[in-house]
Symmetry: C2
Subunit: 723 residues, 2 copies
Amino acid sequence: MKRVTSRLLSAAVGLVMATATQADEGMWMPSQLPSIGKPLLAAGYKGNPADLADLTKAPLSAVVKVGGATGAFVSNDGLVLTNHHVAFGIIQYNSNAQRDLIQDGFVSHQRGKELPANPDSRLRVTTGFDKVTERILGAAHGKTGRAYFDAIDVASKALVAECEREPGMRCSVVNMFYGRDFYLVTQLELRDVRLVYAPPRAIGNYGDEVDNFVWPRHAGDFTVLRAYVGPDGKPADFAKENVPYHPPAYLKIAREGVREGDFVMLAGYPGITYRHRTAAEFADQVEWRLPTTVQVMQQLQQVIEEAGRDDRQAAIRYASQLQSLKNGIKRFSGELEGLKRSDAVATRRKDEDAMLAWLGGQSSAAVLRPPIDQVSQLIAAGNATRERDLLLGLLQTQTQLMRSALILQRFAYERGKPDPQRESGYQRRDEDLAAGMLRQVQRRYDPAVEKQLLATLLTRYQQLPDAQRLPEFDDAFGRTPAELTARLDRVYASTRLGEEAQRLSWLTAEPAAVEHADDALLALVARLQPALLRIDDERKAREGDLLRLRPAYMETLITYREKQGRAVYPDANSTLRVSYGKVSPLKARDAVSYDPVTTTAGIVEKNTGVVPFDAPRPLLDAIARSDYGDYADAKSGAMPVDFLSNLDTTGGNSGSPVLNARGELVGLNFDSNWEAVSASWMFDPRYKRAIHVDLRYMRWLMDKVYPAPELLKELGVPASEHR
Amino acid sequence: MKRVTSRLLSAAVGLVMATATQADEGMWMPSQLPSIGKPLLAAGYKGNPADLADLTKAPLSAVVKVGGATGAFVSNDGLVLTNHHVAFGIIQYNSNAQRDLIQDGFVSHQRGKELPANPDSRLRVTTGFDKVTERILGAAHGKTGRAYFDAIDVASKALVAECEREPGMRCSVVNMFYGRDFYLVTQLELRDVRLVYAPPRAIGNYGDEVDNFVWPRHAGDFTVLRAYVGPDGKPADFAKENVPYHPPAYLKIAREGVREGDFVMLAGYPGITYRHRTAAEFADQVEWRLPTTVQVMQQLQQVIEEAGRDDRQAAIRYASQLQSLKNGIKRFSGELEGLKRSDAVATRRKDEDAMLAWLGGQSSAAVLRPPIDQVSQLIAAGNATRERDLLLGLLQTQTQLMRSALILQRFAYERGKPDPQRESGYQRRDEDLAAGMLRQVQRRYDPAVEKQLLATLLTRYQQLPDAQRLPEFDDAFGRTPAELTARLDRVYASTRLGEEAQRLSWLTAEPAAVEHADDALLALVARLQPALLRIDDERKAREGDLLRLRPAYMETLITYREKQGRAVYPDANSTLRVSYGKVSPLKARDAVSYDPVTTTAGIVEKNTGVVPFDAPRPLLDAIARSDYGDYADAKSGAMPVDFLSNLDTTGGNSGSPVLNARGELVGLNFDSNWEAVSASWMFDPRYKRAIHVDLRYMRWLMDKVYPAPELLKELGVPASEHR
């Protein structure tokens, strides 16, 4: 059946993508925008593409990183607009039984009343983006494998340390096109962040999990923060005497809204995509990785659900893990469904075959083809142990006591080295986090359930062919399910890692003492550790070679696309990117069409009075009054809430400002549709959509429902009675 | 909240209904069609409205009643087209382990191979529809209450007996406009029905319960039957020598399909609607009856679910009752949701108020107003005991042993009278059905569950005010939950009605023996019976008066509507009706739009390979080949499956032929959308839609997927290669 669907759809995809790609797909580095100025202007942009080239200059310098997401400066006095769900930690931090800002929302009517965020809140403003390819690859030239990997690691750490010598700066080295280009990103880190305006949860997160990934959507997912600095204008921790930060630039809020077909663009920090992976990697993802991961996760889900049926205590302890397994299963199934729907594997394969055929006729073929073939061999080599690696990965994330033992032994091993040479995640600065994890074990652990989870994973492991199994593991767990069960029973019956004090004490114990501990579980893991270190080493050697060789693949792809008249953007890697497109409806299924703008009527339709569809009374009253001023759509009279575009986004784009053709702020990105879950691998223009709060809805709420006239004035869009 | 929605929507409803009613709403008696010829022609009908006036003449004489649903003759040799779900019993009857027609479908390639239906299958062709108001009401004039009711009952029974003297005829007396007009319906009853063509279940019922009430839909819900008669041309039981029946008329299948906006009309036997009920009855339905019924049914659902959690046997025995409670809850909740969405109560109230105000200024007011006021009083009187009556109704339908005892005692009581005077349902001809019910008890009964169901209903009963309670019931069940439980325990511990032979023997025992039986449950019910007979008598007296007085209300409504330029159709009552409208999309919710035509692409999208989305391989292969001949839409190239119209339908319209502007057959009605569940009370043109199989899909299946060229030829639409 699936093959049938695929065959039917592939023709359509090919057709649409060939004509639409340049206008729809792309997470562009700002420096690339002048080179795609022609399609950008053709799509409707009214500004000068050259103005968008430098992310340290206006308007892109108004875009900020808010934790793992995005936001934007919207006033000269440091107001920042981001999502309610992005600022949720700050709202929660300021809430308590007496003052429930989650439930009630928050409006500050004067600066002195703005509420300090949790002390670890950070806003980052990019102040430098410098190409450092030669400095990073200089020492790597001529090396291969693990040595190539380490040379890059050392050079990057050195550059970052040098850069962070300036106080208040956070630096990082990122690579573009899988190792072809390296950049040093310099960011000013603002540490005094305050809460200015938040709608109640039932507006900001209207629909919650039920509406997650759903269009049509009706959430007012926005919050206003303000950045403060010390009286000297430098980043500072919270202090009464701090003053508002004056950003290098801020975005102007549009007076008009958007309609279907209007040009929009978006800037933000998308996390990670895999679109330029090879056809073999696409096939691995669709044909093996996603279905297998879902299958194993479902086995684990079943273990937990069965255990919880008779044991309420176990059900409670594993509720969070169960929830996360379910989310993962849903997410991966959605990705699989989407990639099949788009016939991603065949499409990518056809594209790659055509590229390689074209390369054969080029003079560069003799240079580029061998490394491309080596990339394929490296990927195949990595895949040779993929079943084992998946199971070991789950062993480390889906257990509590086993994970604790693995962490403790690895810490003991790394603590034998000077701190800078310790593995990331096991450095001195990571010890607090590890202690926190070790403390949480108690609330999430039940020995019977953990043993069943381990038995599930390791029984699968025992069935792997010899080449994938590890002598240390065979030794430790035996070769039959009966042996496995007996050993797990024995180890779990005697280990004392179930006691919190025990676990914490091993974190600071002498490395040798941990390695030779007489605790049964620590001793078991000590026997496994050589195998795990060996796997780690092999992985890094492979990654080093991939960093060395993949650029040839990317080079070929870029030149091939150029010939097709298409530019190539690097896969997302949490750096600032720009995408452009238009306000777009969605034809999700046969005979089902979604308009690109939702209205307040939909809030009333969805409302049940019960969480998550429990819109607050003031909102319902305002809707009943149709008191929309000039925020409503002039033609239809309807009050917009959210809108949909075909902008290219992924996780990390939450809170990204959405701009109109004149570069004015019209929306705030906050989610994408279910059909677009697979866009991390393939952008299918038929289904990829991004979901935005319409700023007219935000302004209406701030004007008529939970009024903040001072704020609207500062935002340059005064409330009706103040104009 | 609800009030808010309502207020917002009512303006829109008023607006749409005022302009659209005549084109969209209406289940017209054929004799009414000439009087609405103008709007009918304006809507696009190309024929002569006068030709539709007589349901005993072509084309309406081609419409047949198939059980409780509809079908149509489609060839001169008696082929009948109806729904797969309507003919399901016939398909099931012909299926066994060796020949599974449900799973595989059926194609007869020659007449001798057509399969006889179950012997109780019936097709009815209406041959007479005569106004008999005077003959029915003659003896009732001057009477009131129970006497008025009985006079109508006696006159009707006499007319029917006289009419059925002709062999092969079935007759009934129906009333229109709630007692204003009476008609004698004469139907020729065909008893030899044969199966000619049925698609596999996975086509005919693709989507099953999941897609029930759902648009977009992708079912090929059709089946072809053939009517046979004896060699003398008269109705006969199945016999080898029987010959195809030549119907008085048959419908021609259209060569072209329909598109959005095209005129369509439909004829069939809609079951029951309540649209001309009074505003007080609307309020009772929305404010009390639907929410209370749902609430009590949910209590019963909970009892069954809880019992089934620990007791697999009980879970199995009550699975069917649970399913039916859930369906009822879903259905009633949907009706409630829809009536609230349409603000039905306020709209109806406003309409009625305006009507009464207008009446006040008329000379007829002095005549018509008093009976209208009496109608309101009668409705109010009936409502005074509505809680009790609801609970007693559920007591009789949601139990097994209690119900058996109630049926046995009532039969014993009725068997003391001459057969024609026995209550309908308790006459001699009903005894087989009763015995069948009594036999099934075993498979659906568990004493613990039944006692809990009774306790739930009767505890609610005990809490009713004195005026609603019955001395006999208080006496039998006590006044406190503790008394109730003790008595139920005692009765259920000793009754022998749990044994099938016992139950059946009481059905034929001497009436006096039953009345004085020493079985605890029969004895208990014997104590209740006087109360139940009294309630029955009160109900009939009220119904008699309503039949006497409601015509004044209808008279006023009809005249008032005339003044508004609108004709009035009688509420549906299982008689032949015609509705007309157009192929219409549906805007179901904010930002959600449904196209009015689905395509085969949607079958592939929905297909999971698992029931109910397990389209057969030959269908999927044919879709993959896009081998659509000229059945596909010429413009889009897509192959249509089902389509949506705004035709006015209700239960009973299943299998109704859908005709185009030239009176040719283009579709087959089979369901309506979820948003239209409330249309039995109010037709809201924004949401009321009917779902039809597109006959192009049927023809394509018969031509390319499960070929039946002979049949297509007989249908006048030969397969491509035979033209």
